[in-house]
């Protein structure tokens, strides 16, 4: 099984993020909360008046940007993985049932999806977090509650299409019950698609987390988040543009990496697409 360059890029970015998230206390050169007012608003080290000990410069309170970015990977990755998986489990379950059993299941799930999707996602997220309260796990739950519809819609269509194929009918003629057919025949054939969806959703979840922390509805302010960094950078965008630019780059890299990972893995894991 050979992986494409895309897949390698995705794996590399994901590993980097995972390393930052897990190893933040050791990888970060400074305490992300430590203020050094004598070294405030320093540009990155490669700029003319940058300092070597602050690679990506400092913010207005003299906190190290690199350390804050590394620590910010932690909430980003937790939300991405937990949010995408939770949304995936809920959406897949409902989508499979709707697509495979049809009838009553399909009617209820489809209407629910229609109603759900008529709410603007970000607004819904903000309202949800405001209701359940702030914090990392509230963000995870909010993402799952909003984005299960993505999974439900796609999985429903795929399950519907798969269940018309002969191998599903054939599975019934060897004596599998409908539920067993769904779990053992349909689900494995939906899995490559699901993998792509989960990684796409991870990208979306990272962005949603950034939005929520941008408006201050994510974790408490003593934990650095990329959204929080962007929000702080926005205030001084004319004096210290790297303050805004660097977390945006981190965010974009994460989203790109997750998407590349999904596409690359699907190409390698799908027995029909793989060479």
């Amino acid at each position: 099984m050979s992986l494409s360059p895309r897949a390698w890029f995705g794996i590399a970015v994901s590993l980097l993020l995972a390393a930052c998230a897990v190893g933040a206390p050791w990888l970060a050169p400074h305490d992300p909360l430590e203020q050094d007012l004598l070294a405030s608003s320093l540009p990155p080290a490669w700029a003319a008046d940058g300092e070597a000990r602050f690679l990506f410069g400092t913010d207005s309170l003299g906190r190290d940007i690199l350390s804050r970015l590394v620590w910010g990977a932690r909430p980003a990755l937790i939300v991405a993985v937990a949010g995408a998986l939770l949304a995936g489990v809920v959406g897949t379950f409902l989508g499979l049932a709707a697509g495979f059993f049809g009838g009553w299941w399909d009617a209820v799930v489809s209407r629910l999806v229609d109603v759900w999707m008529s709410f603007p996602a970000v607004l819904l997220a903000i309202v949800l977090v405001a209701v359940i309260g702030t914090g990392l796990w509230s963000v995870v739950i909010a993402i799952a509650l909003i984005d299960w519809t993505r999974f439900a819609r796609v999985v429903r269509a795929e399950a519907m299409q798969q269940s018309r194929l002969n191998y599903v009918v054939a599975a019934r003629t060897i004596g599998l019950s409908r539920a067993a057919t769904l779990a053992r025949e349909v689900l494995p054939n939906v899995l490559p698609l699901l993998l792509t969806l989960v990684t796409l959703e991870m990208g979306i979840a990272v962005v949603v987390e950034a939005i929520l922390s941008f408006v201050g509805l994510s974790v408490s302010s003593d934990m650095p988040t990329w959204g929080g960094l962007i929000q702080e950078g926005r205030l001084y965008v004319n004096q210290t543009p790297w303050l805004l630019g660097l977390p945006v780059v981190a965010l974009a890299l994460a989203v790109l990496g997750f998407n590349a990972l999904g596409d690359g893995l699907r190409e390698s894991l799908d027995p029909v697409v793989a060479r």
Binding site: L165, N166, Y167, V169, A170, A171, R172, T173, I174, G175, L176, S177, R184, E185, P188, N189, L191, P271, V272
Partner: protein, 302 residues
């Protein structure tokens, strides 16, 4: 004479119309009886109801179709009234299917080994290891070269003929008493067709462990295959059996006008190709009138 494996009596299958369409009778009182170990051909044009019979026996009628009346006895069980769990226990073990289109009848996500072992372990008390060995033996029995390698392949890596052999292996895996072969060679090219048919014949006689062989309900529109393979034949048109009997007798002296018309329309290599003849429209028109009258009488009786 031992009891029939499959006995169908007065089977009516109704296709419920969508929206304004009226309901339509797909099967109009089909009687069919298959003895142990015999190959029973079911011959008819497309839409005659051949597959509806197969689907009723296998319990996979499309959801708009329903059995309106009639009895199906399978190995002495009242098949249509059996609880679903008991029916599932027999499906794949006592009765199984060789499907029409080998290209889509195997799950693309699983290896051949998993798909053969699945049916074995579902019905027989077998360890994973024993199932694997039996799967290997089955692939060998359906004359697949390098069975050990094929076991670890995915369906898309195999040709249509190979896949049909795998499906035959799956159908015979648990030593069934009856196999429904729904046009098993239609989707294959002609050279492969012959090999697959020969294989089906040997497997049927060997019977996957059944003494006296496995009975086969062989669905086809190809009269040449019927002559080669079948012991008995039922000719179906418009959801009714118009003629039944031993292959030798019917090929010798068909009684029903439709059977004679069907024979007359069969292409033969001793006639030039341009002489391809359609089935005499007068014969089918007469049958259609009968069918319409039957439907009216049936609707009134309900």
């Amino acid at each position: 004479m031992s009891a029939p494996v499959l006995e169908i009596e007065g089977l009516h299958v109704l296709l419920r119309g969508e929206r304004r369409e009226p309901d339509r009778l797909m099967l109009r009182g089909v009687d069919l009886s298959i003895r142990p170990g015999e190959v029973h051909a079911l011959v008819g044009e497309s839409g005659a109801g051949k597959s509806m019979i197969a689907r009723t026996v296998l319990g996979i009628l499309p959801h708009r179709a329903q059995v309106a009346s009639g009895h199906v006895r399978l190995l002495g069980h009242d098949w249509l009234k059996m609880p679903p769990a008991a029916r599932r226990a027999m499906l794949g073990r006592d009765v199984s299917l060789i499907p029409q289109d080998p290209m889509s009848a195997l799950s693309p996500a699983h290896t051949i080994e998993r798909q053969i072992c699945e049916v074995l372990r579902l019905h027989l008390p077998m360890s994973a290891q024993a199932a694997r060995e039996r799967a290997l033996a089955l692939l060998d029995a359906v004359r697949i070269r390098e069975p050990a390698r094929v076991l670890h392949q995915y369906p898309h890596e195999l040709s249509g003929g190979m896949r049909q052999r795998v499906l035959i292996a799956i159908a015979f895996a648990c030593g069934p008493r009856l196999i429904v072969a729904d046009e098993p060679t239609t989707a294959l090219d002609v050279t492969v067709q012959r090999e697959v048919l020969r294989l089906l014949r040997t497997m049927q006689q060997r019977g996957g462990g059944q003494s006296g062989g496995t009975a086969v309900l062989f669905i086809t529109h190809n009269l040449g295959l019927v002559a080669k393979l079948a012991d008995r034949v039922s000719v179906i048109h418009g959801g009714r059996i118009v003629e039944r009997g031993l292959v030798a007798e019917i090929f010798d002296a068909p009684h029903a006008a439709y059977t004679r018309a069907l024979f007359a329309a069969t292409p033969r290599h001793d006639r030039p190709a341009e002489a391809l003849r359609p089935i005499d429209p007068a014969v089918t028109a007469a049958l259609d009138v009968e069918a319409a009258a039957y439907d009216n009488a049936w609707a009134r009786a309900r």
